[in-house]
């Protein structure tokens, strides 16, 4: 003997009375616009009876529809009153129900379409909202780097520079001239593939060394021999020798 649950499985589940009615219309292959109301009503009531037998809760909407069907059925059995005139078309008791069914069916038909779209769409994977968003430090737009930034970096360096303590025996320290410094900077930058400003300074350096080097860089930039780039505010300054120097000679 089949268990109750297996029987339940065989009983189609309907979303509501209209859903059930549409199912019956389709099963009987009758036109929706001319429903054989007696047949459909009997089948509808049979379905409700099965639901009750299975101890399934029959929603009140199903019962209301049963009453409506029975009412239509009885009205159709009544003898038609004599027509008073040609225009006085007698109203079909089914009209309202059929209109509701037609309207409902439009949306009911979309369920399969939406289901298909849902399945197709489920095969697309998007990046999840919890994908990490990189922390951006807004880069300085190209062309907005000014000597002011260089100056700031210089200030930073100056603050880091150690003042050479006075030695016990005073030996005159050779002060580099700007010209010599310029040649040295040009030589080092040319020999490199991009050099950090700091790399031009040999530790321990003095404020004077930093200033001299900075001036040398500014002069070389003015002459169009050097290009300076900075990664960001307070970032490292990198220097490049410009490949094409118009007059060709080295800074000697």
């Amino acid at each position: 003997m089949p268990s109750l649950s297996s029987l339940t499985l065989h009983l189609p589940v309907f979303e509501g009375p209209l859903d059930l009615l549409l199912h019956l219309v389709r099963e009987n292959k009758v036109p929706i616009t001319d429903i054989p109301i007696a047949l459909i009503t009997d089948q509808y009531l049979e379905y409700l009876r099965m639901m009750e037998e299975l101890d399934l809760e029959v929603a009140s909407e199903f019962l209301v529809m049963a009453a409506t069907l029975l009412e239509i059925k009885s009205r159709m059995l009544l003898p038609k009153p004599p027509r008073l005139s040609e225009e006085d078309e007698e109203e079909d008791p089914r009209t309202e129900l059929i209109a509701r069914l037609v309207e409902y069916q439009k949306y009911r038909a979309l369920v399969e379409t939406l289901r298909t779209w849902e399945e197709e769409r489920k095969r697309w994977f998007f990046r999840s909202p919890d994908a990490p968003v990189p922390d951006y430090e807004l880069p300085i737009p190209v062309g907005e780097l000014t000597p002011l930034h260089l100056l700031r970096a210089l200030e930073r360096l100056l603050s880091e520079a150690v003042e050479t303590p006075l030695p016990a025996i005073l030996i005159p320290r050779k002060r580099l001239s700007l010209r010599l410094r310029l040649v040295e900077v040009w030589r080092r930058v040319q020999a490199s593939d991009g050099l950090r400003f700091e790399q031009l300074l040999d530790a321990p350096f003095t404020r004077w060394d930093v200033l001299l080097t900075f001036l040398a860089v500014l002069e070389l930039m003015r002459q169009g021999r050097l290009e300076a780039r900075q990664a960001g505010l307070f970032g490292e300054i990198t220097l490049w020798a410009l490949k094409e120097v118009s007059d060709g000679h080295t800074a000697s």
Binding site: A59, E103, Y104, Q105, Y107, L114, E118, W124, F126, V133
Partner: protein, 185 residues
């Protein structure tokens, strides 16, 4: 910016975005003319044809997503719980999509059943939202679909829904969605 470079910039934006980006936003962010962006989108789509990703127009914007053929592999990695909508939910959201703005009693009149539970589910899943109040007794809430609704069904706009009259009521046949993720640029 030349078209190729622009298409790479577009790709970056679409990569970091977690929602569709509208053309308006693209114009603002990339500071390029719309017709240039359309060319760049086309170039991007061509370049992506060799990749695992695709460009889709969805919910009124552009977005990158994976190609459907790799769905199984991705599912193996992400192990998502597939939570499909119930038939009742699909039916209800279809009615709301076509008749919006619509009240709960109006939905129930069409469906012939009580629908407050299913409407609540749709609200929770973000597929519908309150869009106002009807100027009627009791000022009932009016509902409409959300961009999330479009996204859920892979639609770009409500216009992509089939005309209700087009449906053959006898057959309940399936209308074709205008676009598989093809781009109309």
């Amino acid at each position: 910016m030349d078209i190729q470079r622009l298409s790479r910039a577009l790709e970056c934006l679409l990569f970091v975005a977690t929602e569709p980006i509208t053309m308006k936003t693209l114009v603002e962010v990339l500071r390029e003319e719309e017709h240039c962006l359309r060319f760049a989108l086309q170039a991007l789509e061509e370049r992506l044809s060799a990749s695992g990703l695709q460009l889709v127009e969805v919910a009124g914007g552009y977005q990158l997503c994976t190609r459907p053929e790799f769905a199984e592999v991705i599912a193996r990695y992400l192990q998502p719980q597939p939570t499909k909508l119930s038939r009742a939910a699909l039916e209800t959201v279809a009615i709301i999509a076509y008749r919006q703005p619509i009240t709960l009693p109006e939905v129930e009149a069409i469906r012939g059943v009580q629908s407050d539970g299913v409407v609540r589910t749709l609200l929770q899943r973000g597929l519908i939202q309150e869009v106002g109040r009807k100027q009627a007794a009791g000022r009932p809430v009016l509902y409409g679909t959300t961009p999330q609704f479009l996204h859920y069904f892979g639609l770009n706009s409500l216009e992509e829904l089939p005309e209700l009259e087009e449906l053959n009521p006898a057959e309940g046949n399936q209308p074709e969605k205008s676009g598989q993720p093809t781009l109309q640029i």
